[in-house]
Symmetry: C2
Subunit: 436 residues, 2 copies
Amino acid sequence: MLQAFKSHINTTFPKLNSNKLLLAVSGGLDSMVLLHLCKASGLNIAIAHCNFNLRGKESDADTLLVKEEADRLQITCHVEHFNTESYAADIKVSIQIAARELRYQWFDEVIKEFDYNYVLTAHHLNDDVETFIINLTRGTGLDGLSGIPKVNNTIIRPLLPFSREEIHTYALAEKIIWREDASNASDKYLRNSIRHHIIPKLEDLNPVFLDNFKRTQHHLQQSSKLIEDYTNVLFKTLVTHTDKGFSISLTKLNDFENHDAILYQLLKAFKFKDWSSVYALKDAQSGKQIFSETHRLIKHQNALLLSVNEALHSETVTVEAEAKMVSFPLGTLEFNKVEALAKLKKHIAYVDADALQYPLTIRRWQAGDNFQPFGMKGKKKLSDFFKDEKLSLPQKENSYVLTSNNRIVWVIGHRIDHRFRITKLTKQITQIVWHF
Amino acid sequence: MLQAFKSHINTTFPKLNSNKLLLAVSGGLDSMVLLHLCKASGLNIAIAHCNFNLRGKESDADTLLVKEEADRLQITCHVEHFNTESYAADIKVSIQIAARELRYQWFDEVIKEFDYNYVLTAHHLNDDVETFIINLTRGTGLDGLSGIPKVNNTIIRPLLPFSREEIHTYALAEKIIWREDASNASDKYLRNSIRHHIIPKLEDLNPVFLDNFKRTQHHLQQSSKLIEDYTNVLFKTLVTHTDKGFSISLTKLNDFENHDAILYQLLKAFKFKDWSSVYALKDAQSGKQIFSETHRLIKHQNALLLSVNEALHSETVTVEAEAKMVSFPLGTLEFNKVEALAKLKKHIAYVDADALQYPLTIRRWQAGDNFQPFGMKGKKKLSDFFKDEKLSLPQKENSYVLTSNNRIVWVIGHRIDHRFRITKLTKQITQIVWHF
């Protein structure tokens, strides 16, 4: 397996040979094998281990194992402890989602602080098959069947071509020690059931099922990419931007086939649920409209106009001075008083605490909004700012601002206003973290 | 179920209410239920029943059941007996493929002769799931997962939204009689295994799996259609036709992303097997080439040139005067002496026996070929003929001609030469049937 792993790295991710890599190691079979494979391949690696404090002594034993192995192999090991349960309660998500969010946020911090280039995770072929089956039973589309991406920004998953059996065999042969993986505990029952009852039956039907599955996934990924490309072409051809959103020309749509499939692609980011109503709108009377959680689609002459759902648009969330966690449609803002700035990140803002006039408000941006982007001298229309930042339409439509006395403090996730920045005169710093 | 069936017909196939329909009825559960549903919905139906003579008395008992039921319901019943085994041996295919070919050929004849508009078959949702799983275990792509088409030319499958269980429940409630279906016998083991061991497990994971699967199939079909549309766009942008095939501009390809996926779409009809070599050709030296069973792809400056594999191109199959069945790369030609012309069909040619000079030859068409298309006065270049007939490039590339003394007798599957036609002076007719 080591040979196959090396060759996979050299063919698919040659850049891993010359970069600093951070390995996500839980102490479970998969990540311990990944660690040994990377070490044996001479890659430049460090370890990141999360202790989510979800299983008491068991979690600590995981941490101990990873630390000891790191010592033995003389590899840097970053360890972080999380209070996952209270975090999940705070931002009202499942333990599993909270753990994932904490993990990836922390990885992000570590790679920036210590100048790693990529994070490597140990997802393998069986994870992929299981996800395929889970999504299939739930009802899905091409995206849900195309598998876990092997690269996603700075995250790389070099074990995807390898089966659990190969990994297990390698671990036994190389006498690698591991502990049962605590992550994904909440869907463990589901995955175990697929692993023990479904995959073996599929292998009965075809002994090389797993190899064939790899090929299938590759084909589906190629199909996904083509549809993405085509959607870009369709956007350019059929869509014109308007003040409040965009307009799809039904006249131009008539030059194409498969209108419903096209409308789905153009509109899938906007949370419509009843797609037959969306499709029916093509032939409806002018003025007929439907709403999603966030948007409105209205038939207007020979076009469908998409705009932000105005009812939501006018909704504002108030932030009192003593508030610590405030929920809004895109997640939660956490307000902290801090002593100093840490490294700058898009989802964290640092502003001069004394410049804020409470109550603050969080609201969706509006046409006409303007602010003074951090680092700039003059004011700028928010719509121009978004254009310069090359935001996609869905990103733009889903942008929120934090305001103080009707002035924008932070275009959340993008840029603070220059007037609220930290200066030499700042006495107190407010840190605002967006958990999404 | 009757109500759901009626509503499905009215929504999806309203044209079935006003047309003459031919029902493929084997005597098995699914087709007997389809028969009763159509009758109860007041559709204008007749029955077509094939006796493939594969199970002796059992086959005859099937036929008897269908005939009796047709009598009872006062519905016209067409029955045909086939010598499936000897046909399969003659054209060297499996029994299953032979049965399918015989069945659909015969349906085609019956609907033309008796002026039916559509053939209805009883494929249902579980057939779809089983096909999905079979293809998945074998390795597949989007097309292999998108399901049996609900409409395919004149064939319509109105039971696809219904599960085997619904059909079975309806049959019991309505006291419908059926016999175990003999068709698909050769993959019965496979399908039974999926039916008994895999589907129940998927339903354990999610009790509404079958409903969700319907949704999944719909989404995948939409994705398939979009890719088809995009491929047409790509063809127009990247491909120019040449004398021998076509040329893909690599310069223009560079304006796109996902080059491999695009090349796959443009070239998938040409039987290349080693796709990584196809993809590698983009960056190869000018002059490098690869071959498929039928085609050659060569890197030439900034283009990939596709042409018919010349080695194959020059290969001709000789047809002696006494030959009855002659194989060629696209199937088999069957030569018969007949008394009279039956209805004209694309895959059957009738020519004046005395005009033929043996040995005849079968070969792929060549640039420069010309003939006198039946019904026309002058000669025509074959390439122009194909253009007028709007053949797709793969169709054109895979066209064969039957020649006599260097003159084209039949552009196989398309048109005979006027000079070989049946006239008042014809003494003997040769019928040539293309089995593909």
